[in-house]
């Protein structure tokens, strides 16, 4: 396949993300990468579960967490996953403009989530004096939730870079795989959050 066919394809296939060998490799390689990421988060969850009782008698999960804010954050992130699905739907229909719009909405929702998380951390530190260093539970909490937050930040930067880089040239067989795996990444972040919501916040409040 010549460069011209990749950058300006005369005919867009139904799965533009897997039309080239590079695209197929990216697609499969990224799934493998997410497999590794799963082990990474599993290790962090394991550590958290081992240490979530080590609060040194103060700032316990029940005492700290407020489910209202966490509910809003969950809604924001779940909705952002939905909007990224819409974006991929439009990619498969070769509607570049709508894809960009839905991804921009995804970024916006992700930013709102991140804002809430920063507020949450700020709140714990300033209202309760609950920090990364105050107990083993503190270390485990900020590390697990912070790793997820770091992933959100990286995902937002990545999708934003894609949106800006390609805004003038439309969809082609070179950038379609990039969009696709960025959206895979975003779904993964969302799935991890579902587990954080359950294991950290729900179990912390009721468990």
């Amino acid at each position: 396949m010549s460069h011209e066919d990749v950058l300006n394809p005369k005919h867009m296939p139904h799965d533009p993300e897997k039309a080239t060998l590079e695209g197929k490799n990216k697609f499969l390689g990224f799934w493998f990468f997410l497999g590794g990421e799963t082990v990474l988060f599993a290790s962090l969850f394991g550590t958290y579960l081992a240490l979530n009782g080590s609060t040194q008698g103060e700032n316990t999960p029940e005492h700290l967490f407020g489910l209202e804010l966490v509910f809003i954050m969950t809604m924001l992130l779940l909705t952002s996953s939905l909007t990224s699905v819409y974006a991929m739907y439009h990619m498969k229909n070769h509607n570049f403009g709508k894809m960009q719009t839905w991804l921009a909405i995804t970024v916006f929702l992700g930013l709102a989530f991140l804002g809430c998380e920063i507020y949450e951390f700020y709140h714990y530190i300033h209202e309760y004096g609950f920090t990364f260093r105050s107990s083993a539970f503190g270390s485990a909490f900020y590390t697990l939730v912070g790793f997820h937050g770091g992933h959100v930040l990286f995902g937002l930067s990545w999708i934003t870079a894609l949106l800006l880089r390609n805004r003038k040239r439309g969809l082609n067989l070179y950038n379609a795989p990039k969009y696709y795996i960025a959206s895979l990444y975003w779904h993964f972040i969302d799935v991890v959050w579902v587990f954080i919501f359950t294991v950290v916040y729900l179990m912390g409040k009721v468990g």
Partner: protein, 622 residues
Amino acid sequence: MSTATAQKRGLGAAIWDYLTTVDHKKIAHLYLVAGGLFFLIGGLEAMLIRIQLMKPDNNFISAGLYNEMITMHGTTMIFLAAMPLIFALMNAVVPLQIGARDVAFPFLNSLGFWLFLFGGLMLNVSWFTGGAPDAGWTNYAPLSTSSPGHGVDYYVMGLQISGAGTLIGGINFLVTIVNMRAPGMTYMRMPLFTWSTFVTSTLILFAFPALTVGLFLMMFDRMFGSAFFDVGLGGNVIIWEHLFWIFGHPEVYILILPLFGAFSDIFSNFSKKRLFGYSAMVFATVLIGFLGFMVWAHHMFTVGMGPIANSIFAVATMAIAVPTGIKIFNWLFTMWGGQIKMTAAMLWSIAFIPSFTIGGMTGVMLAAAAADYQYHDTYFVVGHFHYVIVGGVVFGLFAALHYWWPKMFGKVLNEKLGKLAFWPFFIGFHLTFFIQHFLGLMGMPRRYWVFLEGQGLDAGNLISTIGAFLMAIGTVIFLINVVYTSVKEKKVSGDPWNGRTLEWSIPSPPPHYNFVQTPLVRGLDPLWVEKMDGKEGMTPAEPLGDIHMPNASILPFTISLGLFIAGFGFIYQVDDTVWLIAVFAGMGITLGSMLIRSLKDDLGHHIHKEELEEDIKKGVGR
């Protein structure tokens, strides 16, 4: 750019070529040289350990330096010598064995190498900046969290960086093997080395992230005041042990499986028979890989997990002996009735079988949890794991290097010198480590700086040290052989061993696109199938046409360099916050390079049909 044109443009251009290369064959050279150097450093550390233990109450090196030696010997040999040398083989051979022109992610392949190298350099810089890591290669907390100085910080940052490179390499080979196989190369026609690379890469993918997390926790505890392993604040030191061994046990299979694959190819080739029990071999490889994740806690029998956990992990561990036994018998049956040719590669392979079997047997002994209370942390364990790692991995590396050297460099390593290197190493190996089992049973603990006189340990330790010198002599002869071969030996054809698999169907060293035309695979041992049909070389699966190849790039180097700089920043910001500048500068270089990679289109280039026809006329392509 081919090597020939690079050489014409002088040394500077050649260095630039290697800094930016994305060609799997050149990356194999880089891994080989870097891994070889670290192997020598690790070997030197081993010699110092053995000299210190040569006689009772010796004070050849100080106690502190001794701790640094054992830590760095283990860490260097596992992460910086064995793994990169294995990656050298994988890079040199796997794409050729499956009929591919390159790996799936050439850019990431290069990134993996540079991350490993900078991680390895980082670890070794510690020798010059106030002391190397000294908490053992397992780096258990709280010994590691309370170790003074920055040694352990170097361990954490160095392994974090090189571990990222390994993970990337693993994903690359997985996708290469799934997506890049030539037409007709079905899974059950893949050579065993490719199969074992596939399984190994899966292990890397699922094992390394656990180490990543363990290292992050250690980093946070040591550099940012968190309390994961600080019992005073509710921390739990056993978490490190679990994370380390969830990674660490699969790691030993990551080390041995590729060489199991290499041995399979070597036995089959030099016995002139197809591998006995091919499908059983594949099955055993996959089963070992799977069980490898179920046994990590057998390193922790004495921690106090309780009898039920100990029993489960003991039984699971013993179960691994079954697929391994299947392999041993299949190798023996491959040789049975074959036309065996006793090359140096074959010598190392045959020596591997009894050596590794002894290591496997002591492994089953150690797996008996109740008995392990006696063996734990004694020289019995040291003897055991050196039998499997040296008797398996190092013998395997020597065998595989002899076997694939002509494919990598176009010359067969001198056979006489090859065999001359083998004997002192082989005898020295058994001399060094066999006696250590008994030293351990007599109660000599591992990691001790000195032992006392008159406890029956003197003779054993002296014998062990003599053996170590013999191994060093064998290694030196091998190095002499490398130099001798490159100067004196003649170029050979692409198929010096009358090979069976695809890599032997193309010239040595191969052109940078490997295959002029992608070959059509018609069975297991595809080249042999064609030879038996009276054909010369493979049948092409496609007409001669333009070949698409990836572009070279300096970005993998700069990404890794950035992390290297940031690593120092992280280590020293504890003393002085000025070092945060290094953190930001380093991360800026890394993230900036990643951003350039993301924004700048890189579509690769084409080698045109006309150039290929020229190459064929010159005899390069066939």
